[in-house]
Structure formats: structure tokens, C-alpha cells
């Protein structure tokens, strides 16, 4: 029986070591990808291509989700605030919750599902079909040629997507709150403008989305690069990307919120 318990402990230890090892590998991988100087004349067009598949292709889902979330927030907020005669505060409520929380977080979750999983699958497939090896044999570092442009495209796209999400959300709230429920437009905007601050709300939301973009893309490209080169390995890596990114987003969101808005 005691052997059984020891085995369990050893298993746990091995699991812990594996995890730490893979975090270490991911760190080295990231540093190599970011700080390697790409010697290609066409690295700008490589980045453009990735901005297209990572950023532009995520636009539709981000815009549609933002619109609906803004509309729902306005509707829910109105129904509660009308009881206190403060329906003017709907604008303020929607803007603050979008800029501080929902914009960065929901965009990052959608981004992980849409772009992150696609990145992992694409890189994993390139590994499975030996494209990465053959690139190495031709004398090109896949970290520079394949990983770096995808990573930067993710980091650049995320804040832009989050800004679009928040703006579309607020416009959705205007549609529901002002045009449909009949909140007076002037006080809708003025209550918003009185409480939203450029640095504390928009700036911090932007920082959040940058951090999320960095982490999600990092997880996605590493999982693809580290995938076991079989179809099963790639599909597992894709699942891991979505799970790890979602957990990382929500955990980091709490930490960032505590640091940014903790004193208030």
C-alpha cells in the first residue's frame, strides 16, 4: 500500500517537472523567436499576410459579438436602473464594463478560439508534414520565418480588435438604449463622458488587451511548434491552446484588475 502512495507522489512529482520543463521550453522558444533578427527582405509582407489571417479574419466574429453584448448590457442595465430613475446612467455602465472588462476579456477569448486555435493547427500541420524540417535543411530558421511573424501579428491585432469590440458594443447600447428604449441621448453620452477617463479606463483596457494578445499568441504558436507530429497530436495541441489561453486570460484579468483598479 505504501508503495502505491509513493508511486502517486512520484507521479505528481513527474507531472510537476514536466510542466516546469515545458514552461521553460516555451520561454526559450519565445525569446529565440522575438529576438532573432530576420534576414528576409520580405518580412514586412510576411507580417502583412499574418495580420490578414489573424486580425482581419477575426473581425467579423469580434464585431458581431461586440454589437450583441453592448445591446444586451443596455437592455439589462435599463431594466434595473429604471427602478431608481437613473436610466441615464446606462451609458456610463455600458461604457465602463466594456472598456475595463468585457472588451479585453471577451475579445481575447474569441481571439483564442478563432485565431489561436487556427495558428496552432497551422503550425502543427507544418511540423507534421515536415515543412519545418525542410525549411531548416534549406537553411532557414523556422522560428524567424514561421513563428515570429505570426507572433507579432497576434500582439498587434489584439488591442485593435478589443478597441473595435468596445466601440461597436457602445454603438449597440446606443441603438437599444437611445433609439429603442428612449433614454435621452444627451444625458446618455454626458454621463458616459463624465465617468470614463482616458488613462484609467481606455488606457488600462488597452494594456489588458496587449497582455492578453501577447499571452494567447505565445501559447498558440508554442503549442503548434511543440505538438507531437501526428494528426492526433495536432488536434490535442489545438484543444490545449484554447483551454490554456482561456484560463490564462481569466487568471491574468483578475491580477491586472487588482493592480489597475485595486485602490479604488
Amino acid at each position: 500500500m505504501s508503495i502505491g502512495i509513493l508511486d502517486r507522489v512520484a507521479q505528481l512529482g513527474r507531472f510537476g517537472l514536466d510542466q516546469i520543463q515545458s514552461i521553460g521550453r516555451a520561454g526559450v522558444f519565445l525569446i529565440l523567436a522575438i529576438f532573432s533578427r530576420a534576414g528576409f527582405s520580405n518580412r514586412f509582407s510576411l507580417l502583412t499576410q499574418q495580420l490578414y489571417s489573424v486580425g482581419v479574419m477575426s473581425l467579423i466574429i469580434v464585431t458581431v459579438s461586440g454589437l450583441f453584448i453592448g445591446m444586451v448590457l443596455a437592455l439589462q442595465g435599463y431594466n434595473i436602473l429604471i427602478r431608481y430613475g437613473s436610466e441615464d446612467a446606462v451609458g456610463q455602465m455600458v461604457a465602463l464594463s466594456l472598456l475595463r472588462e468585457l472588451g479585453p476579456v471577451v475579445t481575447a477569448l474569441l481571439f483564442a478560439g478563432r485565431a489561436g486555435s487556427a495558428l496552432t493547427a497551422e503550425i502543427g500541420l507544418m511540423k507534421t508534414t515536415e515543412q519545418l524540417s525542410s525549411m531548416e535543411m534549406i537553411g532557414v530558421d523556422p522560428l524567424k520565418r514561421v513563428i515570429a511573424p505570426r507572433f507579432w501579428a497576434g500582439v498587434i491585432s489584439m488591442p485593435l480588435l478589443a478597441a473595435i469590440f468596445s466601440l461597436v458594443g457602445i454603438l449597440g447600447a446606443v441603438m437599444v438604449g437611445v433609439d429603442w428604449l428612449g433614454i435621452y441621448e444627451g444625458s446618455f453620452w454626458s454621463s458616459m463622458q463624465a465617468s470614463v477617463s482616458l488613462v484609467a479606463d481606455i488606457g488600462n483596457g488597452l494594456i489588458k488587451s496587449l497582455v492578453f494578445g501577447f499571452v494567447v499568441t505565445w501559447i498558440a504558436v508554442f503549442q503548434g511548434y511543440d505538438a507531437i507530429p501526428t494528426s492526433e497530436g495536432v488536434s490535442r495541441a489545438t484543444t490545449r491552446t484554447v483551454v490554456y489561453s482561456s484560463l490564462a486570460i481569466l487568471g491574468l484579468d483578475f491580477i491586472l484588475t487588482a493592480v489597475m483598479f485595486g485602490e479604488l
Binding site: 500541420l125 508534414t129 515536415e130 515543412q131 524540417s133 525542410s134 535543411m137 534549406i138 537553411g139 532557414v140
Partner: protein
């Protein structure tokens, strides 16, 4: 040193482990310049691993590998990339870049390693594609090619930089007889026309034997036989015989090691 210039690749005392498994145990292989050398053996004996060791995508646990007289272990990163330019490699799956067209795939190594003007690159690419008979397919994407065409484009890419040696990783696997015949002819033809060294890793006996000048037979991490194809065919070694004649049982057993079947049936412990 005269030997080094005659032999493009020399492998001395190569030992390589993957986990607990010994893939190679003190293996010596010599690949002479300008010849087609076949490296054969049952599946799972690490033939692909050997090619990766030669390209130094993997490093041996012990032993030396010389490519064109240079010890791979002592090369700096820069020198390694320069040495790799002398080696073209045809991967098992072709490994064409799926997001580039046939033309761009073949042009890829040229764009990376040379500063040639666009018309020049165009001429070279069409020349290489002509050599594999696929000049007409230059605008297609890899997904639109058949398996055999895919491998021929990959071959054109492998020879784009005029390497001194081309390594073929299982070139015949999964090919129909026609595509196989085309590849066999191409490998021999390119070897003679471009005066390059060819290493063919395969377990397809007849095709490999028909084009090779020299054969190595690898099993259980060791070289179990070597020689010209004819002499290997008539070898007395039982292991060589089993492989060359495709016998199902012999020194390489049909059964995976297991406890006695009768005992297992009678309710003995499994494993």
C-alpha cells in the same frame, strides 16, 4: 586525407539513443562521391534518423560525421548553414510549403540564399522544373498536385541550389508504379547528369537495388550487410537473406516477444 576527398560522407562510430532505445550502436558508413548509395532496412530502424543526423538536425551521442571532409560537430552555426547548402533533402512527405505555389516553392531556397535578379531566378526555377518534367505545373498550388508530382516538385526544390548531394527519405513510399518508375529514373538521371552524390533511404528493395551502386543494410542499430546489390543478393548471412528475399520469419521474428501462448491461454498472468 585523400580518402576524405573521395568520400562525401564518412560516419565513424556513430551511436545514438532515443530515450532508452538504442537507434544506432557504433555504426560506420561511408558514402563515396558521385555514387548512388542505398541505405535499407526494416521499418523503424532509424533510417530517417540517420538522414537527420547527417543534416545535423539531430546530434549523435558519440561518434563523428564528416560531410565533405568537415566534422559536423565542430561547425559553427554559420558554417553549418553553409554546409547544409551542399545538401538537398527530399522528405518523405515532400514537405512542400502549402502556402506557396509550385514556382515559389522551387524559388524559395534561391530567394533565401542568393541575391539573384528576378529573371535569373525565373530561368533557374523553370530549368529545375523542366528537369523533373513539371514545368507546365509552375502555377499550381501543392494541394492541386498528385502524390508523385508533389515529390517531383520537392525534388526540383532540393536541387535548386545545385547541391553536391541529395538525400532521399523513402522516395517510393505510397507511389503508384508509374510514379515510382519516374522517380527511379529521375534519381539515377540527376545523379549522373549533375554529378552529385545520392543517398536513398528506403525499404523498397527492388527499386533501391536497381539504382544503387552500393547498399547498406541496417537492422537492430547495426550495419548487418553491405556491398554491391548483386553480392548482397547472394549473401549467406541469414539476416541479410531474410530481408533480401522478404521472408516472414527468420532472425527478425514474426512474433513480437511475448510469454508462451499456451500458458497465457491457460490463465497465466499477462505480461
Amino acid at each position: 586525407m585523400t580518402e576524405a576527398s573521395d568520400n562525401f560522407i564518412e560516419i565513424r562510430g556513430l551511436t545514438f539513443h532515443r530515450g532508452d532505445r538504442t537507434i544506432f550502436n557504433n555504426v560506420d558508413i561511408t558514402i563515396p562521391r558521385g555514387k548512388v548509395v542505398g541505405i535499407m532496412g526494416p521499418s523503424g530502424t532509424g533510417k530517417t534518423t540517420l538522414l537527420r543526423l547527417i543534416g545535423r538536425q539531430l546530434r549523435p551521442d558519440s561518434g563523428q560525421i564528416f560531410v565533405d571532409g568537415q566534422n559536423l560537430d565542430l561547425l559553427s552555426r554559420e558554417e553549418l548553414f553553409r554546409t547544409r547548402r551542399k545538401m538537398g533533402m527530399l522528405f518523405q512527405s515532400g514537405a512542400l510549403f502549402t502556402d506557396l505555389s509550385v514556382f515559389e516553392n522551387v524559388a524559395f531556397p534561391l530567394r533565401i540564399h542568393t541575391k539573384l535578379a528576378e529573371p535569373m531566378i525565373r530561368d533557374i526555377v523553370f530549368m529545375k522544373l523542366e528537369a523533373v518534367g513539371l514545368r507546365g505545373a509552375w502555377s499550381l498550388m501543392p494541394a492541386e498536385l498528385s502524390g508523385g508530382m508533389n515529390r517531383r516538385v520537392a525534388l526540383a526544390r532540393a536541387i535548386a541550389l545545385d547541391p553536391a548531394m541529395v538525400m532521399y527519405d523513402e522516395p517510393f513510399v505510397g507511389q503508384d508504379p508509374i510514379a515510382m518508375g519516374v522517380l527511379v529514373k529521375l534519381i539515377r538521371m540527376l545523379n549522373d547528369a549533375l554529378k552529385i552524390t545520392s543517398v536513398v533511404v528506403s525499404h523498397d528493395l527492388n527499386e533501391t537495388a536497381s539504382i544503387s551502386d552500393y547498399l547498406y543494410l541496417i537492422a537492430d542499430g547495426e550495419v548487418i550487410g553491405q556491398g554491391e546489390p548483386d553480392s548482397l543478393m547472394n549473401s549467406d548471412d541469414s539476416r541479410v537473406k531474410q530481408f533480401m528475399n522478404g521472408l516472414s520469419d527468420g532472425p527478425v521474428p514474426f512474433h513480437y516477444p511475448a510469454p508462451d501462448y499456451k500458458k497465457a491461454l491457460l490463465g497465466g498472468e499477462v505480461g
